[in-house]
Amino acid sequence: MSTTAVSLRANRVVGFWDSTNGKKVVMAITGAILFLFVIGHLAGNLQIYEGPVRFNGYAHFLHTVGELLWTVRVILIASVILHITATVQLALRKKRARPIGYSRKQAIASSYASRTMYWSGPILLAFVIFHLLQFTAGYIHPGSQFIEGDVYHNVVAGFRVWWVSVWYIFSMLLLGFHLRHGIWSMFQSIGFNHPRHTPILKVAALVIAIVIVLGYISIPVSVLLGIVK
């Protein structure tokens, strides 16, 4: 019996995107773009602590830079679509790659965050849709009236509804998990790994994820505690 199975070689043009590695590079780059957005968005949100005038002024300012706002939005939407497309394709490959699972399988080294990316991702997507419908479009505004332009009011009134806040906090925790893996993983995907630097990068990813989560969560918590009203 033969030890190597060799049948005729097929010449194919295989593109970058066709490979799992190429998809991960795309996920790394789009992930980096979305990560920058998460930081920028947080910086904007934290202005809520400076009062309604400042916060509404900031929101108004974003709308005065019309074209730029839409450019950024288009880039973000494209990033989200590419990021998700690659995920779905990799998930389908994963399913095909092990149709019969183990009766017992023990994770020995990987982080909880890395193993739950396939879960934290879709839930975050659901959150983003809900979040846009609530605060950007104003279709969903439980417990209060959505006032176009009065962002401060919308946020405070929105978060007074306890389940909105709980859902928000839960989603932000998942975002933290997603970032904790994603921030270092994108470097690995584009080919950067170094025995001395990568451990530092992993710690940095954890710290950055925690800071971002705390920053976002502080807003609903402050509203619920009555600090922001």
Binding site: S19, T20, V25, I108, N193
Partner: protein, 275 residues
């Protein structure tokens, strides 16, 4: 020592498999896991039952033939150890061990604990070589290689192709193996001429097989008996990006994966026969 071995038994690729529990009474703590299976097989043969099929060759951790899951961990609980090196003293008297083959579509099951890992051979064949002139051996040190580079290449070259990385990976990805096979050549001066092609071809072959894609989880490196670091996957990614950018000809050759066995046209050998 007395152990209960819950072993996956499957006659051949197509038949359904199931777990069968065996009690082995006279386990010597100094035995290896494979010797423990040998002891079990002897009693099975005496009883006229089918022995458990498993792969082995060197029994000293260097050939990569052996390997199966023990209690959900490839090659068992000890780090940097193959099942042929794993001694039974690491288990407790009376313990139950669940023994399962590697599970991956790219590793179709042949029998019991034996899987077909020719997909690895095809990945190596697609680019794991360098071009050198044959003939006299070149002078030693005619190409200077720094110690740290040589060490790094040796670390990657330690991969024995056992398949534990694929078995451990939640995606059943062969990234650690392919990364090791790319890295041990591409970081040496001798590996430079084919560097870009090699990455493109080996990655294409890896993707032509039924492996999943790497999502940087890191189970592989913990399960690897040779402790191949995740760094080799980054090296593969870097070479792949570099190659994709630089190569002028984007035609990549892949070998069509094949799961049948050629039995030789005249002799009608049944590959699933026990003897």
């Amino acid at each position: 020592m007395k152990l209960t071995l819950k072993i996956w038994r499957q006659k051949n690729t197509n038949e359904k498999g199931r777990f069968v529990s065996y009690t082995v009474d006279n386990v010597n703590p100094d035995m290896s896991m494979l010797e423990c299976l040998d002891v079990l097989n002897e009693t099975l043969i005496e009883r006229g039952e089918e022995p458990v099929a498993f792969e082995h060759d060197c029994r000293e951790g260097i050939c990569g033939s052996c390997g199966f899951m023990i209690n959900g961990i490839p090659h068992g609980p000890m780090p940097a150890t193959t099942v042929c090196q794993l001694t039974m003293r690491h288990f407790k008297d009376g313990q139950e061990l669940t023994i399962e083959p590697w599970r991956a579509s790219a590793f179709p099951l042949i029998k019991d604990l034996v899987v077909d890992r020719r997909s690895f051979d095809r990945i190596i064949a697609s680019g794991g070589y360098i071009s050198i002139n044959t003939g006299n051996a070149p002078d030693a040190n005619s190409i200077p290689v720094g110690k740290d580079i040589a060490d790094k290449a040796m670390d990657a070259a330690a991969c024995i192709g056992c398949g534990a990385c694929v078995a451990a990976c939640p995606n059943a990805s062969a990234a650690l193996f392919t990364g090791a096979k790319i890295a041990h050549l591409s970081i040496l001066p001798q590996g430079q001429p084919e560097r870009d092609r090699r990455a493109l071809q080996m990655v294409a072959q890896m993707n032509a097989e039924n492996f999943g894609g790497c999502t940087n989880i890191g189970e592989c490196t913990a399960a690897c008996p040779k402790e191949i670091p995740l760094e080799v996957i980054a090296t593969m990614n870097r070479d792949f990006i570099r190659g994709s950018w630089k190569e002028r000809d984007s035609t990549v050759r892949t070998i069509t994966p094949m799961t049948e066995w050629s039995t030789g046209s005249k002799l009608d050998i049944d590959p699933h026969a026990t003897s």
